[in-house]
């Protein structure tokens, strides 16, 4: 009996130390989450407004006034996949991977474009093989991104590759931060800026009219056009100058925002997972305490009855 209580005690001890760790991790994640959420919420209105304006400009401007506005037939898609640096965040990475996989599947059925992945986050490296796609670039991820300069290398690459024509569409796979308990993995198209495209979930329907139109106009996009030809909006000092500075900036902003959303989601997911782990540890400790007390009581009762039995035998 004595051996049994010892084993239970050891188990309780080991669970308590695990609980200590998960509790500490929960607290760290809570702090990080608070900071990430503060950043994501403060930039949200800017990013939303920027996206609205970009879409508005794309809708009301001549399609060829800027390379970032021109549509090409989609032969190759670049996917920016934003994962986390560490695991232990529940299904954070796996859910994102699932969504990405879904997108790749539907994209293949649609028009059979090749997909290449631009990856950020160490943890994504482990499960990237599931997607079975080429990874062309990998960027280090900062645990808490707070400045847009920190994501410049990635945004520059995406825009450059698109302008060069290596990719005909660029999407971002990220996790949208809805609230501390709910995060939704999403795929968002960043480039080209589509006419009448608002925020959307999953894959979009390829507009056949657009494709036909683009094919005939391909390559004309490099032409210099002045404000009068650019359509609805007036540009000061000139369409090309303004679009050149405004479009990349606002596209960068979208990628930056996606990273911020992912940051906030990651830390909230981890906090929740760690809280669940701590709760589970608590339950287990409680259960084991009962068993321990029972075993101890049983041992005592047995000893007493042995003593009483022994004393009775002497009389």
């Amino acid at each position: 009996m004595a051996l049994n209580t010892k084993a239970i005690k050891r188990r309780i001890k080991s669970i308590s130390s695990t609980k200590k760790i998960t509790k500490a991790m929960e607290m760290i994640s809570a702090v990080k989450m608070r900071r990430a959420v503060a950043t994501v919420l403060s930039t949200r209105s800017y990013a939303k407004l920027a996206w609205e304006i970009v879409n508005d400009i794309a809708k009301k401007t001549h399609i060829n006034s800027h390379p970032l506005l021109t549509h090409r037939q989609v032969k190759k898609v670049g996917m920016i996949l934003i994962t986390s640096n560490r695991g232990l965040a529940g299904g954070f990475t796996s859910r994102l991977m699932q969504t990405a996989q879904q997108y790749i599947k539907t994209a293949h059925i649609e028009s059979n474009p090749g997909i290449e992945i631009i990856l950020t986050g160490k943890h994504g490296r482990k499960s990237i093989h599931k997607l079975d796609q080429t990874v062309v670039a990998e960027f280090d991820k900062i645990d808490l991104t707070t400045r847009i300069e920190e994501v410049f290398p990635m945004t520059q690459l995406a825009i450059q590759e698109y302008t060069k024509g290596n990719y005909d569409r660029i999407v971002v796979a990220y996790t949208d931060f809805v609230s501390a308990i709910s995060q939704v993995p999403k795929i968002k198209q960043i480039l080209p800026l589509e006419k009448g495209l608002d925020d959307f979930l999953g894959t979009d329907d390829e507009d056949t009219v657009n494709v036909a139109e683009v094919e005939t106009e391909e390559g004309v996009g490099q032409q210099q056009e002045d404000a009068s030809e650019a359509g609805y909006y007036t540009f000061e000092p000139g369409a090309r100058v303004v679009l050149d500075s405004i479009l990349p900036r606002l596209v960068e902003m979208q990628i930056y925002q996606a990273i911020l959303e992912s940051d906030a989601s990651e830390h909230s997911a981890r906090m929740l997972t760690m809280r669940n782990a701590s709760d589970a540890a608590n339950d287990m400790i409680k259960e084991l305490n009962y068993t321990f007390n029972k075993a101890r009581q049983a041992a005592i009762t047995q000893e007493i009855s042995e003593i009483v039995g022994g004393a009775a035998a002497l009389e």
């Binding site: 847009i148 540009f235 000061e236």
Partner: protein
């Protein structure tokens, strides 16, 4: 007309106003109600707007200005500060610091120099806007 100034950090202003003057690359433009849709680059400088006869100044360090087809004006600025928010002492300190760093012998790359120039410019604008509207009161 509706007017919004938004920076990546916060919404600086969202209000109904009568007119607004922006510093673009080609010079100042004033936007009155029912302006045609316009997209423009903003230079670091002063932005001022009128609301029920009163003048307000905002120091801006670059960005974009958009007049939408519904007549509302949106300024997406890198940073923006109201004149009354500007701490003149701190702005002066920032200017002096930037100027000192710039006058130091060059051991640095051009990137640093450009960044410093930006800082100096920003500090100067803040000082200018801050001083101007302080005097008005």
């Amino acid at each position: 007309m509706k007017f919004q100034i938004v920076t990546p950090e916060r919404v600086v202003l969202s209000d109904e106003i009568d007119q607004i003057t922006l510093t673009t690359e080609d010079g100042e433009i004033t936007v009155l109600p029912r302006h045609i849709p316009l997209v423009t680059n903003l230079k670091p400088g002063e932005l001022h707007y009128k609301k029920s006869g009163e003048d307000f100044g905002v120091a801006i360090s670059g960005g974009f200005g958009v007049v939408k087809d519904d007549g509302s004006v949106v300024v997406l600025a890198d940073t923006a500060e109201h004149a009354h928010e500007i701490d003149l002492v701190r702005a002066e300190e920032a200017r002096a610091r930037a100027a000192k760093l710039m006058s130091e012998p060059r051991k640095q790359e051009d990137v640093n120099f450009a960044a410093l120039q930006m800082q100096l410019e920003k500090a100067l604008i803040r000082l200018k806007v801050g001083n101007k509207y302080r005097k008005l009161k």
